[in-house]
Symmetry: C2
C-alpha cells in the first residue's frame, strides 16, 4: 500500500493512525501542500485525485480517497482490531462522533478555505484565526456535551477500545493546539486525547514523526 | 421512528430519501431553523442534539445524529434495498463520492457558516453568494471529473442501482439550483440527478413536499 499524504494534514493523520492500529506497512508518498505552489495541483496527482485532496491510498492499484471511506475500507478488509463496534446502534454513535468532527469542524478550517477568507474576503490574520478558533471551540464543545450526556466514555470515546471516533478526534486536537484554541472547556475530550497519545499507533502517526516534517 | 428535521435542510433531505427507499414510515417533527430565532436552539431540542444540528432520528428511544451515520444505520438494520454495494472497494468508492459532498461542499454552505460570514466578517450579499457558488461549483466539478474518469456510472453514481452517493448528491443539486449555481459543467451529475428525480422516494422527500414547506 502507498499513502499519498502530508505530515500536517489531519485527514492524512487519521489514515496513518488507522494503518498503524491495523499493523499495516505502507509507502509514504509526500504531497507537500505548500511547496511548488502545492504538489496536490500537479497533473500527476490530479490523475489520482481529481479534487486535489489528500490523503489518497493506493492498495495494489485500487485508488481510494476520502479519509473516512479509506478507514472503513481498512476496517472491512483488515478486521482486527475492529475500529467500529459490533452493534448497529453503537456503530451509528461512533460514526456520528467522527462525523461531528469530519463534517462540522474540519472542513471549515482546511487550508483552501483559510486561503479563500484571506484572498477573496480580505480577512485579516486576526479574523482568520478567530474563524478557525470559533469552529474548533464550538464544535469540540458540542461534542464534549454529547460525550458527557451519553455517559459512554471509558478510556476512549466508546468504552475502553479505540474506535474510528478516537482516530478522528486526535488529529483535530493537534490542529486545535497548533492554532492556540481554547481547550479547557472539553476535559472529557482531552482525557481521551491523552490516553490515545500513550498508544504506539497514535504516537507514530503524529505530524512531527513523519518524513516530510521539517 | 421520528425524524426531527426541516424541509430545506439538505442533511434532512438525505435521511428522508433513505427512509423512503427503505419503505419506512416515520413521524415528521419540524425543527424550523429560522422561526423563533431557530427552533434548533431550544433546550428541548438541545437535549436531543447537543450541537443543535438536524436531522435527528429517534428510533424507539435511541437518538441518532449525523445524516450519514443515520443512513448507514438504516442500511444495517433494514438491508433491503441496499444503499451500499457488496464489495469493500465499491463501498469505499460510494462512501468517497458521498463524503466528497458531505465533507467538501455542504459544510461550507451551512446556514450557520453563511451567518458567520455576514455577521462576523461583514460579507456582502454578493460575497456570500460568491462564496456559496464557489464551493458548490468547484466541489461538483471535482466530483464530475472523478465520475467521468472512473467510468462506473450507469443510471446512478455506481451502475444502475441507487446508493448512498445518489442519496447525498440529489439534495446538493437542489441547493445549487436554489442559489443559482452554474451546473452546465457537470452533465454526468445532472443526468444522474434527473434519473433519481423520477423515483418516488426522491420525489416524496423533496423540500416542497414537506409539511413545513411554506
Amino acid at each position: 500500500m502507498k499513502l499519498y499524504n502530508y505530515f500536517r494534514s489531519s485527514a492524512s493523520f487519521r489514515v496513518r493512525i488507522a494503518l498503524g492500529l491495523k499493523g499495516l506497512d505502507y509507502d509514504y508518498a509526500v504531497v507537500h501542500l505548500t511547496r511548488d505552489g502545492g504538489q496536490q495541483f500537479t497533473a500527476e496527482f490530479r490523475a489520482l485525485s481529481a479534487d486535489a485532496l489528500i490523503p489518497v491510498l493506493d492498495d495494489e492499484g485500487a485508488v481510494l480517497t476520502q479519509s473516512l471511506a479509506i478507514i472503513e475500507y481498512l476496517d472491512e478488509t483488515h478486521p482486527q482490531p475492529p475500529l467500529l463496534p459490533a452493534t448497529p446502534l453503537e456503530r451509528a454513535y461512533v460514526r456520528a462522533c467522527a462525523l461531528a468532527i469530519a463534517c462540522e469542524i474540519h472542513p471549515l478550517n482546511n487550508l483552501r478555505v483559510l486561503r479563500y477568507l484571506v484572498h477573496e474576503l480580505a480577512a485579516s490574520e486576526e479574523q482568520k484565526n478567530a474563524w478557525y478558533r470559533h469552529w474548533v471551540e464550538q464544535g469540540l464543545g458540542a461534542l464534549e456535551a454529547r460525550l458527557v450526556a451519553e455517559r459512554r466514555c471509558g478510556r476512549h470515546v466508546l468504552g475502553d477500545a479505540v474506535t474510528l471516533a478516537d482516530v478522528v478526534l486526535v488529529p483535530q486536537i493537534f490542529n486545535a493546539q497548533r492554532f492556540d484554541c481554547r481547550l479547557d472547556h472539553v476535559p472529557t475530550i482531552m482525557g481521551i486525547f491523552a490516553r490515545c497519545m500513550e498508544l504506539p499507533a497514535f504516537i507514530a502517526a503524529q505530524p512531527s514523526r513523519q518524513p516530510d516534517a521539517q
